[in-house]
């Protein structure tokens, strides 16, 4: 009710509301949620628990940062949950029973497989002008099947101690694996907001035709975004193995939807051109804090699932509202 009357008010107020509902909005929601859990969820505010949350959101953060690039150019990548399994089983097999010397090659392998699937996703989408939704849905099956075929459905274990050790290391109090995610988010933020390529990514998502007419090859930009997304999945696969010490061809089911949820909660538009790495990071935090807090409160599995879904819907509704607001603003100004 309030929001509607504000929207009909003067443009300046509307613009402020629009901004608050963006990155700041998600930040406010995150703080509110954290305060709620501080009050009602025992142990929520302990250093150990904060470290736990950071460890728990690491995978989704990495995947969501990659997904941000894809969504910014108006694409979607449904294959990440399967591709992470493929990267993990291939790289895991390469390291199985080996020493720390086997790690660099396995990391490279994982990155290459991730980037290669991104290249295929992007290339097919652009070359034949098919929705990335369908192409990556196909890749979801291809990569899952390939992972199963490769392992004969067996779980891979006996990974190098140096790798699993890294999974539990802390750097100045932060889990090392989360530091990797944070570093990737920082690089992505820099690329998207401080480089020509980043500006082109946003421009392509907003108005591809205009970018093309100004002499840029939008197809290449979009494919590169898919490759970046894929490479992020390759990193996530290594992090998964570092944390859990195993790789299985059935891992990662549903990860794509968690990553998309983080990006959308972070204020990105699924039609492209709008969104930010900071928003995505906050979105991943929000989902992680929600899961952690509800578990600490002892909320039942079923209620936890319902609440998580409701939060995603509320975030998307806010996003839709914000978009309508900005259209109205451009109409009035």
């Amino acid at each position: 009710m309030i929001s509607i009357s504000v929207a009909r008010g003067n443009p300046r107020t509307s613009r402020a509301v629009s901004q608050v509902l963006g990155e700041a909005g998600i930040g406010v929601a995150l703080v509110a949620l954290a305060l709620f859990f501080l009050a009602f969820a025992p142990h929520f505010g302990t250093a150990q628990n904060v470290r736990d949350i950071l460890t728990q959101i690491t995978l989704n953060t990495i995947l969501a940062v990659g997904m941000t690039f894809v969504i910014l150019v108006g694409g979607i990548d449904l294959s990440v949950g399967s591709v992470i399994a493929l990267c993990a089983v291939v790289a895991g097999t390469a390291m199985k029973g080996g020493g720390s010397a086997s790690i660099p090659a396995a990391v490279l392998l994982s990155l290459l497989i991730g980037a290669a699937t991104g290249l295929v996703n992007g290339f097919v989408t652009e070359r034949w002008r098919v929705p990335s939704f369908i192409v990556t849905l196909g890749m979801l099956y291809v990569a899952r099947g390939a992972a199963e075929q490769y392992t004969g459905a067996a779980t891979i274990y006996s990974l190098p101690a140096a790798l699993t050790g890294f999974g539990t290391t802390t750097l100045v109090g932060l889990p090392a694996v989360f530091a990797v995610a944070l570093l990737m988010a920082a690089v992505a933020w820099f690329v998207l907001s401080r480089t020509v390529f980043g500006r082109l990514v946003y421009a392509t998502g907003n108005n591809e035709e205009a970018v093309r007419l100004s002499g840029h090859r939008t197809g290449v930009i979009k494919v590169v975004c898919f490759v970046i997304g894929g490479a992020c999945v390759g990193v996530a696969a290594i992090i998964y193995m570092a944390r859990l010490g195993v790789a299985s061809p059935i891992l990662g089911q549903g990860y794509e939807l968690n990553a998309i949820a983080a990006v959308v909660i972070g204020g990105a538009s699924l039609s492209g051109g709008r969104g930010s790495v900071i928003g995505t990071l906050l979105g991943a935090c929000l989902l992680g804090v929600l899961t952690n807090g509800l578990l600490l409160m002892g909320v039942s599995d079923f209620q936890r699932t319902i609440v998580t879904g409701a939060v995603i819907i509320v975030a998307v509704v806010l996003d839709a509202y914000r978009k309508r607001l900005s259209i109205r603003l451009s109409a009035t100004s």
Binding site: F133, T155, L244, V246, S248, L251, S271, L296, D301
Partner: protein, 319 residues
């Protein structure tokens, strides 16, 4: 792309995935429908991406090769909960007019209609892995013998090992499998039996959806909420792997009892963090089912629950 279209498409695909996942097939030596003297048995399983069913299939293929007097037509769904895909697989077997179906149902109630259809078409049906719902079978007016282990009894046996290791009054938590899955429920019940019989104190019970990463998250948070947990009852070994990771990270003295006996847990049984796991000889379950199917084809009456052996695996017999 229009955003509304994209969102609608996401919803559509979420609904379509189970339908599209009509299954991978692995036909033995011949997919021929008509028996050439040899009867054909259809083996319909759950996800072949699961190591457990993969081993089960291998056991069946080896067994059939040894028998030599039966043709095997085996198939599985793409994921554990792919009910529609499995219904299609059963119907395929009916259409092919095979002599018997050995079925590991993806859902203990939803597959009953397909089983009734098969029985009425004159096929012999043997139920393995997860028992079909008795009430639903009675309602459909059919009977299919169940050849398989007692998940509840198995979980109880594994849980009692934990009770023995920790002693009376020890505080424990349960990690459950997928809510709604029959074997998840049976194992949870079995763990609860062990908790009651062993005098343990249950602090929390939550699902980890059978998965390592989720079990790691859920148990990590559980341990934060209840730092005094001394033991965990994990409904499968994949989740136990995630739990053990948490125990290692926190350097906690917590023991785990589990279920399945996959090779990846051997080292933890040896090191002592895992007290017990349960081997229900999954690789032989389908083979057992095929034996009973052959008996039925030869006119023998088989009804009720034919229990197959289970074995508690501990440090002493892990090898």
């Amino acid at each position: 792309m229009n955003r509304r279209v994209t969102l609608a498409a996401i919803v559509t695909v979420a609904a379509v995935i189970p339908l599209a996942a009509c299954g991978q097939e692995n036909t033995g030596n011949a997919a021929s429908t008509k028996p050439t003297g040899k009867p054909t048995v259809c083996l319909v399983m759950k996800s072949l991406a699961n190591e457990y069913f993969q081993q089960m299939q291998k056991g069946a293929v080896d067994h059939v090769a040894q028998l030599g007097n039966v043709t095997l037509d085996s198939s599985g769904t793409q994921n554990e909960t792919d009910v529609d895909g499995q219904v299609a697989l059963v119907e395929k077997c009916i259409t092919k007019q095979v002599q018997a179906i050995v079925l590991a149902p993806a859902d203990s109630k939803a597959l009953v209609q397909s089983v009734a259809k098969a029985v009425k078409a004159g096929l012999k049906v043997v139920n393995i892995d997860v028992k079909l719902d008795d009430a639903a079978l009675k309602q459909a007016g059919v009977d299919a013998p169940f050849v398989g282990p007692d998940n509840r009894e198995g979980a109880k046996l594994s849980g009692l090992e934990l009770a023995k290791a920790l002693g009376k009054g020890a505080k424990v938590a349960i990690l459950e499998g997928n809510p709604g899955a029959d074997n998840a429920l049976q194992r949870k019940n079995g763990f609860n039996d062990a908790v009651a019989q062993g005098g343990l104190q249950l602090l929390d019970s939550k699902t980890g959806h059978w998965e390592t990463d989720e079990a790691h998250t859920v148990f990590g948070n559980m341990l934060t909420a209840h730092p005094d947990i001394q033991g965990v009852l994990a409904s499968n070994d994949s989740m136990a792997l995630g739990i053990i990771k948490v125990i290692e990270e926190r350097k906690a003295n917590i023991k785990v009892a589990s279920f399945d006996n996959i090779t990846a847990v051997k080292q933890y049984l040896q090191s002592g963090v895992m007290v017990s796991t349960l081997d229900q000889y999954g690789s032989q379950q389908a083979a057992n089912g095929i034996d009973y199917a052959l008996k039925m084809i030869n006119g023998e009456q088989v009804t009720g629950w034919q229990k197959t052996p289970v074995k508690v695996i501990t440090k002493d017999n892990v090898g």
